[in-house]
Subunit: 255 residues, 2 copies
């Protein structure tokens, strides 16, 4: 039974997509079977894996609308790394999805039949707490809060936490708050240091020891459709994501 | 008659809020009467001006729902700088707003009665092209695309442009594409330089000559509820935003 993990925060630009892509890539290289799910109609995760979102017809939208089945939509980037892609077309159907029956369970029901085919299912969330993020949380066994050490992401944590508690109470009782990952860190600045102290105080048992430093190779990798491990395996970004994923799976018990 | 300007791109974390806040602050210091409008329920612009979004009851939501009038909601941060605030409560009413009559014209109709009281009305948009961004574009005389020199923002431009053409054709014929502002720039990296070259090629007459460098003072200023001009007037961020605004108003003809 796969661990289903959402990478989430509603604040934009915190490194959700970068983290989902590189975590998925590292786990696949370690031999785990991984499904990455792009729940953002902007399709950045799909692009990060090298697919052209202008050319894709069969995406996760077709699964939401029951027009295609999972095997017809999933992209096999490598034997261990599969992707449910997304494109901007999905944004046009947001209202249709809001009106669907069991609107928060669409993704859970898509993943349920294939959940035993993977060790990890990693979900990239959009920069809001709308219907796609709700679907991700309902389908997940756990989530990781991805924050850059800045003021606006910090202010997003409390409203996020309220949403999490509501989802846990009404829609998914087993949802677990796995941890908080700091990304895009430059601890030479006092500002980053101060934010880290606040996170350590507020989430003493949740803040991952590893963090991701600011590293331009991570930007470059996404622009050529590669993971950091393919693009520049000796970079600080590759080192940091390796550290993070090693910490993340330390408590992983295959069921 | 005010110039009504949206700062927009659906990609998260490109500097929309930082640009709206500091452009508004600089214009106000120059003696222009400015209304800043927070169209993002995350309320970052409201927080950037030092207001606590947990304490605000009367926000732009009350204007959308016709429960309050403009004078009861507007916050007067200084004689020349007013703000229409926003909070997360508005996110809960998104569907209600979608069902409203003339749903794309709500903001235009709110601004219409007071448009002659200001020289500039600057609108901060959320990281999506949903109903709030549509309202911003319909209410605007012009928009500025705010992009950080990275792959994902670049990929967001074409889908944005398609939305702009549709809004111009069906909802607001006079909407003008004013320009493209590059933010969070670090031109020591090849990556940023390459992106700038692409933007110069695609938008030769739209790319502002001035750009905003990466500068931690801009982050710090937002965390203490100040503009960069209040927080650190000698910083690179203050210098860059001054340059940008000077370029932006060069073609401003008071009507
Ligand atoms: N550690 C890092 N160092 C440098 N750049 C980074 C790092 N992590 C992410 N980036 C870059 O910062 C930008 C934002 O990251 P990303 O798109 O992953 O964030 P996001 O949270 O998914 O954004 P959105 O909210 O729009 O979905 C991207 O251009 C990405 O390449
Ligand atoms: N030129 C800059 N140099 C350094 N940091 C910056 C700069 N501009 C913005 N920032 C910081 O980067 C982060 C993203 O900026 P901001 O929140 O303004 O972007 P946004 O486009 O409004 O994001 P969202 O899409 O979530 O609304 C903020 O923490 C901000 O303080
Ligand atoms: Mg993303
Ligand atoms: Mg913003």
């Amino acid at each position: 039974m796969a661990r289903v993990v959402s990478f989430i925060i509603q604040k934009g630009g915190c490194g959700k997509t970068t983290t989902t892509a590189n975590t998925a890539a590292y786990l696949a290289r370690q031999g785990f079977k991984v499904l990455a799910v792009d729940m953002d109609p902007q399709g950045n995760l799909t692009q990060h894996f090298g697919y052209d979102t202008d050319q894709l017809d069969d995406t996760i939208l077709k699964l939401f609308l029951n027009q295609k089945r999972f095997p017809e939509v999933v992209l096999k980037r490598s034997p261990n790394l599969h992707l449910l892609p997304n494109t901007i077309e999905t944004a046009g159907y947001e209202l249709t999805i809001y009106k669907s029956l069991a609107k928060e369970f669409l993704l859970r029901d898509i993943l349920h039949p294939i959940i035993n085919d993977y060790d990890f299912i990693l979900i990239d969330c959009p920069p809001n707490l709308g219907i796609f993020s709700l679907n991700a949380l309902v389908a997940s066994t756990e989530f990781i809060l991805v924050v850059s050490p800045e003021f606006f992401p910090m202010r997003a944590i409390k409203p996020f936490y309220d949403t999490y508690l509501m989802v846990k109470k009404k829609l998914n009782h087993t949802l677990q708050f796995k941890g908080v990952l700091m990304t895009m860190c430059d601890f030479r600045t006092r500002h980053s240091q101060e934010v880290r102290k606040v996170l350590e105080k507020n989430f003493p048992h949740k803040l991952y020891k590893s963090y991701i430093r600011n590293n331009v190779s991570l930007k470059e990798a996404s622009s050529v459709g590669q993971s950091i491990f393919e693009y520049d395996p000796q970079s600080p970004g590759a080192f940091d994501y390796q550290n993070f994923v090693e910490e993340f799976i330390r408590d992983y018990e295959p069921v």
